[in-house]
Symmetry: D2
Subunit: 291 residues, 4 copies
C-alpha cells in the first residue's frame, strides 16, 4: 500500500495534526529535521503577520522510537501558539464572504451561518502539516540521493531568466533569498512589486518551479489513467491552497511549438542512451525518464 496522509486542525484551533502512514522502518528522523522545513515555510518577504506569531515546532507522537521510524504511522503535531489568546473569547460571527476564498462555497456546502469554520480549515495554515509530513518524505528520498527543491520564477509581472544555471545552484540561491528567487536582479524587482502591492492593500500572484533530481526511471505508468506520474503530480500540486495551474516542463510554451522543438531526442553514446535537452519536464508516457 502506498504512502498516504491525512491532516487535521484549524487555523486558530489548539493544534494541527497529521498522520503519515506507510513510511518504511529504519529511517533516522528528528523533530529538528522537520522543524527546519517548518521554519522555511514561515519565512518569506511580505509574509503575513501570522507567520511572525507562530514559531512552529513539531512533536512526533507516533511512529518513531529511539530516533528511527518503525514502519508505524507517524503522528505529527504542531501547536497553535496563539490559540490561548482566542480560547473562550467571544468572536463576532463572520457573515460577509470574501471572493477568492472558501467562505461562500464552504457555507453553501456545509450549511454554516458563521463563515468562520470555512476559513479556519481552508486557511493556508493547513499547509503546516503538509510541510511537516512532506519533510519526512523529503528526508526519506534524500537517503537515495533524491533532492526535491524549488524556487520562485515569477511574482506578478516580474519574470526570471535562469539561463544555464544548474538546478542545485537555483535551490541554494533560493534558500538565501527572502523572495526565494535565485536571480538577485529579479529578486529586487519582486521585492519592489510586493511593497507596492502591500501599500495598495492588495495581493499578488506568482509562479514557482519544483524539481526532483536523481529520480529513478520508471515512476508512474501509462497502463491506466490514474497511474500516470504527470496526473499524480498535477493532483498533488493543485491540492495546495491558491494554486490553480500546473505544467510539467514548459507545457504551455510547448503547446505553441512543433514536435521536433518539444521532444528530447534520444542519443546513443558509448552504449548509453542520453538526452541533451529537457523540454518535456522529465516524464515520457506517464513515467519518469532520467535525463
Amino acid at each position: 500500500m502506498p504512502l498516504r496522509f491525512l491532516t487535521a486542525g484549524e487555523s486558530h484551533g489548539p493544534s494541527l495534526t497529521a498522520i503519515l502512514d506507510g513510511m518504511p522502518a529504519g529511517l533516522s528522523i528528528t523533530p529538528e529535521i522537520i522543524n527546519k522545513e517548518l521554519t522555511r515555510r514561515q519565512q518569506g518577504y511580505g509574509s503575513g503577520g501570522r507567520m511572525k506569531i507562530e514559531k512552529d515546532t513539531v512533536q512526533i507522537l507516533g511512529g518513531v522510537m529511539g530516533g528511527e521510524t518503525t514502519g508505524a504511522p507517524i503522528a505529527l503535531l504542531v501547536q497553535n501558539d496563539d490559540h490561548v489568546k482566542w480560547k473562550g473569547k467571544a468572536v463576532e460571527p463572520m457573515t460577509a464572504p470574501r471572493p477568492g476564498h472558501a467562505d461562500l462555497t464552504g457555507a453553501v456546502k456545509y450549511g454554516y451561518k458563521d463563515l468562520r469554520p470555512a476559513l479556519e480549515r481552508a486557511s493556508a495554515r493547513e499547509t503546516t502539516m503538509r510541510v511537516a509530513a512532506g519533510a519526512v518524505c523529503k528526508h526519506f528520498l534524500a537517503q537515495f540521493g533524491i533532492v526535491v527543491g524549488g524556487y520562485v520564477s515569477s511574482i506578478g509581472e516580474i519574470q526570471t531568466d535562469f539561463g544555464d544555471m544548474l538546478y542545485e545552484e537555483r535551490f541554494t540561491r533560493a534558500e538565501e533569498s527572502d523572495v526565494r528567487c535565485p536571480i538577485d536582479s529579479s529578486a529586487q524587482k519582486m521585492r519592489d512589486e510586493i511593497e507596492k502591492t502591500i501599500h495598495g492593500k492588495n495581493t499578488l500572484g506568482g509562479e514557482l518551479e519544483i524539481v526532483a533530481l536523481n529520480l529513478p526511471v520508471g515512476l508512474g505508468s501509462f497502463m491506466q489513467w490514474d497511474k500516470r506520474l504527470e496526473a499524480k503530480l498535477a493532483m498533488a500540486v493543485m491540492s495546495v491552497q491558491a494554486i490553480k495551474g500546473v505544467e510539467v516542463g514548459d507545457a504551455f510554451e510547448n503547446a505553441k511549438r512543433i514536435g521536433t522543438q518539444v521532444h528530447d531526442p534520444i542519443n546513443l553514446q558509448h552504449a548509453n542512451l542520453q538526452r541533451a535537452t529537457n523540454r518535456a519536464g522529465g516524464t515520457e508516457g506517464g513515467i519518469s525518464a532520467r535525463l
Copy 2:
C-alpha cells in the same frame, strides 16, 4: 462509493474494453448515444490515418437491461477492425525508441525487448474507451441539465479571441468546425498551420478549453488535500495522453496580477449573491461555485 472505471486493450489488439462501475440505475442509454461521441473523437482536421480506418462502434456487454442502466457495472467493448489484418502476421520487433513517447520509459519499466507493447498500450487509441465511458457519464449529467463541452483555443502559435461569445455558442460552433475552433478566422489559420506542419512531417501542439455548465455549488472540498475539485480535475485532465499542463480559469495569466483583478467579487442583488465575472474558473476553496 464514487464512480470508477478501468480500461484495457491495445491499439492493434482484438478490441478495447472498459468497465464503468457506480453508475446509478434507471438511466436510459443506447449504443447510439455512445457512438455519437466515438464518431466525434474520430473526426478532426489532419487526424491520423488510423482515424479513417476505424469506424468505432460500441457494444454494451453489461449493466444495461431493456435500454436502462441497472446500477450494475457497465461493460463497453469496441472492436479494432484492423486487428484481423495484423493477426498472426510476423511483425518486426521495434527497437528504436521515439522521444516524446512511452517507448523508452516503458521498456525500462517493464523490461521489454521489443518496444511494441509500450506503444500499443500508451497509444492515444486508448482514449476510445475513455470517450465511451465518458459518454455515459456525460449523458447522465445531461439529465440534470449539466452540459460538458469543449473547444480548441489554440493550435501552434494561432491563438483565438472568443470575445463575449457565450459558452453554448462556442460548443455549437466547435462541433461544426473540423479543427474544433469556434472562430472561423482562427480556424482557417489553424488549418494552414496544420498543413504546413504535415508538409514538414512534424507534429503540432495546441490548447483546448473544457467547460461544465450548470454545475451545482458544492462539488469538491477544502477539508482534505485529495478532496479539492481543482486537484481532481487536474489529475483527470493530465491523465490524458500528451497533455502536460492544466489550469483552472486563467490561472497562469492570473499569476501575473493583483488580487482585485483576479477574484470574482460577490454582489448581493435582490437577496441573491451574484458575480459579474468568472476569472477563477468556477471554483473557490476547492469547491464548485456557481456563477
Copy 3:
C-alpha cells in the same frame, strides 16, 4: 468520499492519535461522549493491569468548533499517562518473540533487532483510538435512531443461551455486567472460568455479537465484489487485534442446514413485506435488509 480514518501511536509512546475524515458538519459532539466509550473500553472483569493505569480521556484537536462538527477532519488525542514513567529510561531490548503476537512477524517484516516496536504498535492499546473514532460515528448514527450494541456470548467453553431476549435488553444487561454478558447465570460461570485461567497464568478466548438496529435497507451492494456489506463488515471486524473469525447471522450453524431452514421467508401482510425470522443476520445479496 466515504468516511476514512487513520490511527497512530504506540502503547508506551507519548500519546495515541486518530484523524477521522468525512464526518458531516452540524453534529453536536463533546469529549464526554467519546470518554464514555473510552471508559467502557477500560472496564471488564480480569482486564489487564494497564487498564487500571490509564484513565483515558480524549482531546478533540480539530474538526469541532463551538461543540459542533464542521465537516473538517476530526483530530483525536489520548495521552498515555504512564509515558512519563518510561521516558528516557533505558529499556532492555526484547529479543524473545512470543507466539500469538506480532513479535516475530513484525521483526521479519520490518527488520527489528529489538522486538519492542512490534509490540508497541500491534498492542491492543491501539484500539483506544478506534473506540474514540468509533464513538463519534456511533453518536452520528444515533441521530438517525441507529443503535449499535454488543455483548459477550461465550468465554472459553461457557456458552450463553439468549432465548427470546430482545437486543435492546441484551445491550442494557451487558452494560451492567463486568463480563459484558446479558445472562447472569452464564456471567457467573464466565467469571469462574476467567479466575481459573488467570490462576493458571493463561489467557482465554471468547465470542461476542455486534448488532446494529434500525439500519435502513440498502447499505452495500452485490454489484461489485468490494461493495458487499458482509465483505466490508468482515474486514472491519477482522481488523481488530486478536479476532480471527467472523460470521453474519448464524453462518457456521446455517452451513449445516437446508435452505428452507436458513432463509427468512418474506410475507406480504397488509401491503407490507415482513419477515418473522432473522437467520441471515440482516443482509441479503450483500445489502442490509430491514426485518
Copy 4:
C-alpha cells in the same frame, strides 16, 4: 499500486467481462490456463443445469501479447452461450422476491419493478469472472512456488476428518472428487445428502477450506487497521456470493480454548525458528507467518 479488478456482465447477458489491473509484465499466460479453472468451476456433484449449458471459455482481449503479459490491464471475456436463446424474447417480469437472494434488497436499493436485474447481476454466474481473473493471479503466484488450493470440509451435517493428511494431498484428492472432498467415505455421505436435498427440492450449506502454501513471511501488517492480512482475506472471502462466515485457522474452536492451546510455540532449532503446530492459520499480528 496493488492489483485491482472489476467484473461486469449479467447472468443471461451477451457476455461476462473482467479487467485485471496491475499484473506485472513477462508472465506467460494462455486461455487454456484460465479455461482449466473455468472448467473446474463448472463441475461438481449436483451443480445446477446452467453449469451444463455453459462450457465457458475465455477470450483474452488485452494485456497479453505474444503469450506474455505486458503489464497492461488484462481484459477477459466469457460469452454466455445461451444468450442467443433469450435475446429479443419477451420475458415475464419477475415480481415475487425470493428470500436468501438479492431480489428484495436489490429492488429496494435500485428501484426495480421487475426484479430481474437484481438476480441477473447478483447471480453466482458472476463468479465466472472472479475465477478467470483469479486464474491469472494463481498462475502468477505459481511462478514463485506458491500453491493456492481448496477443498470441501463439510456439506450439511457431514463433517470430514482430515487426520494428518498433507495439504497437497488434500488438494489432489479434492480435484478427483465430484464433491471436492478429499476423504472418500465423507464424500459418499455428502453425495447421499445432496441427493436427498435435491429430492426434497431444497438447497444445502457447507464449508470449504482455502490454503495458500509457501507464502513468504511478511504479507500484511498490524500498522493500520486496513493492512491486516486477516482483514483483507476476510473481505475477499465474504465478497463471494452465499458466503457469510470466515475464520483463519480454527478460530471459532480456538475461541473456546486457553492461550497455550491456541498459539503455535516458536522453537529455536539449529539456529532456525520453527513451529510444530499450525493452529493460528498461518498469520500472526496481521502478517503471514511461514510455519
